[in-house]
């Protein structure tokens, strides 16, 4: 499978590295060439400097043949726009978009984007742990 990843931060680099390791053809886009240092040495995919909200950059990244597009820069709006370009202009079958703001995430999920909101996911996980800790300490007191 061909995949285009926009944003080579911790998440982008990791997703790219795992896909590449599993034998997929990966292109990673970032506006900052230094970001590519996060990729492992054995990474065989392609890196491209530019912004994924520019159709020409996406085309150069091979978006027309991509089966998946992942938007994980640290800007919500940039991810949202790039994801919509990938979906509406290039008809990429699988488009995943990270949105930190839960309200915006809700809006765009309703509009049909596949979204991931780290804020809700991580706080839920933390709350789970906190709650179970409180029940653990509460139980002996009650017994």
């Amino acid at each position: 499978m061909k995949a285009v990843i926009m944003g080579c931060g911790r998440v982008g680099a990791r997703v790219a590295a795992v896909l590449d390791h599993n034998g997929h053809q990966v292109t990673v886009i970032d506006i900052n060439s230094r970001a590519f240092r996060r990729l492992p040495e054995e990474f065989r995919g392609r890196t491209l400097i530019g912004t994924g909200i520019d159709e020409d950059v996406l085309r150069r990244a091979g978006i027309t043949e991509a089966a998946a597009f992942v938007a994980v820069t640290n800007g919500d709006n940039r991810n949202i726009m790039a994801a919509q370009v990938a979906r509406n202009i290039f008809s990429v079958p699988e488009v995943i978009c990270r949105i930190y703001d839960p309200v915006r995430e809700d809006t765009y999920r309703r509009l049909g984007l596949t979204t991931v909101c780290p804020t809700t996911v991580i706080s839920a996980q933390i709350l789970d742990s906190v709650m179970s800790a409180s029940t653990r300490t509460a139980l002996p007191l009650e017994s």
């Binding site: 520019d54 709006n77 726009m81 919509q84 703001d101 309200v103 915006r104 809006t107 509009l111």
Partner: protein
């Protein structure tokens, strides 16, 4: 009218100033708190600090009763999201986005922005108009359809010189609306002859602009 402006750069600043002086109710949303303080000093309590793409800020701004939301930040992605959130969450009737990359105009319209304004395109048009003997000028984009008004100069040796309008192979999706001859406006009929030096004003669908350009602006070979 109640108008919300997002982005307090130069465009947002002058828009606020002008719309206020025209008597509209205006609210300017700007991210940078230092900037907003300055604006409050100047405009009074019509400025809010915050991210206009955030639904909470728009709700607080009363977006639900806004007639128009205008997004004029320097970032296309921010302008797009502001308009989309205004449209889908608050059902704002008219959203206007500034587009920095002219290529994004088409995308923004496709994604539900009502009106796009591309400074780059406007400046390009102005430059084209300022260059003498430019044979084909894109005058203005029409809002509702993907139409444009174009101006073609009939140059010496043009293919269309001395031919009747009715005989020209004008592509479908285009109408020749006027001819300007030595400063005089002529509303053409099919029998009107085109002369060298005329300006042919046409309304055309943007998809056939290139065909029209070939027909009108090219010389006989």
């Amino acid at each position: 009218m109640y108008i919300i402006i997002v982005g307090g750069g130069k465009v947002g600043y002058y828009l606020t100033k002008t719309l206020l002086s025209e008597g509209h109710e205006v609210l300017l949303i700007e991210k940078n708190p230092e900037k907003t303080e300055l604006f409050v000093e100047q405009f009074g309590a019509v400025v809010v600090a915050g991210d206009g793409a955030e639904a909470a800020i728009l709700a607080q701004a009363g977006a639900a009763r806004a007639d128009v939301v205008i997004a004029v930040t320097g970032e296309d992605e921010d302008n797009l999201v502001v308009c989309q959130v205004a449209k889908t969450k608050f059902h704002v009737g008219r959203t206007i986005a500034r587009v920095n990359n002219p290529k994004n105009e088409y995308l923004f319209r496709m994604l539900g922005v009502d009106i796009t304004v591309s400074q780059t395109d406007y400046i390009l048009t102005l430059i084209e108009q300022a260059i003498p003997d430019q044979p084909f000028i894109h005058l203005v984009n029409l809002i509702h359809e993907d139409m444009a008004i174009v101006d073609a100069k009939v140059v010496a040796g043009s293919k269309i010189a001395n031919r009747k309008i009715g005989d020209l192979p004008v592509p479908e999706g285009c109408i020749i609306a006027a001819i300007i001859r030595s400063g005089e406006l002529i509303i053409p009929s099919p029998s009107t002859e085109v002369k060298e030096g005329d300006d042919v004003i046409a309304i055309a669908h943007r998809s056939i602009e290139d065909d029209l350009r070939k027909l009108l602006a090219k010389k006989n070979r």
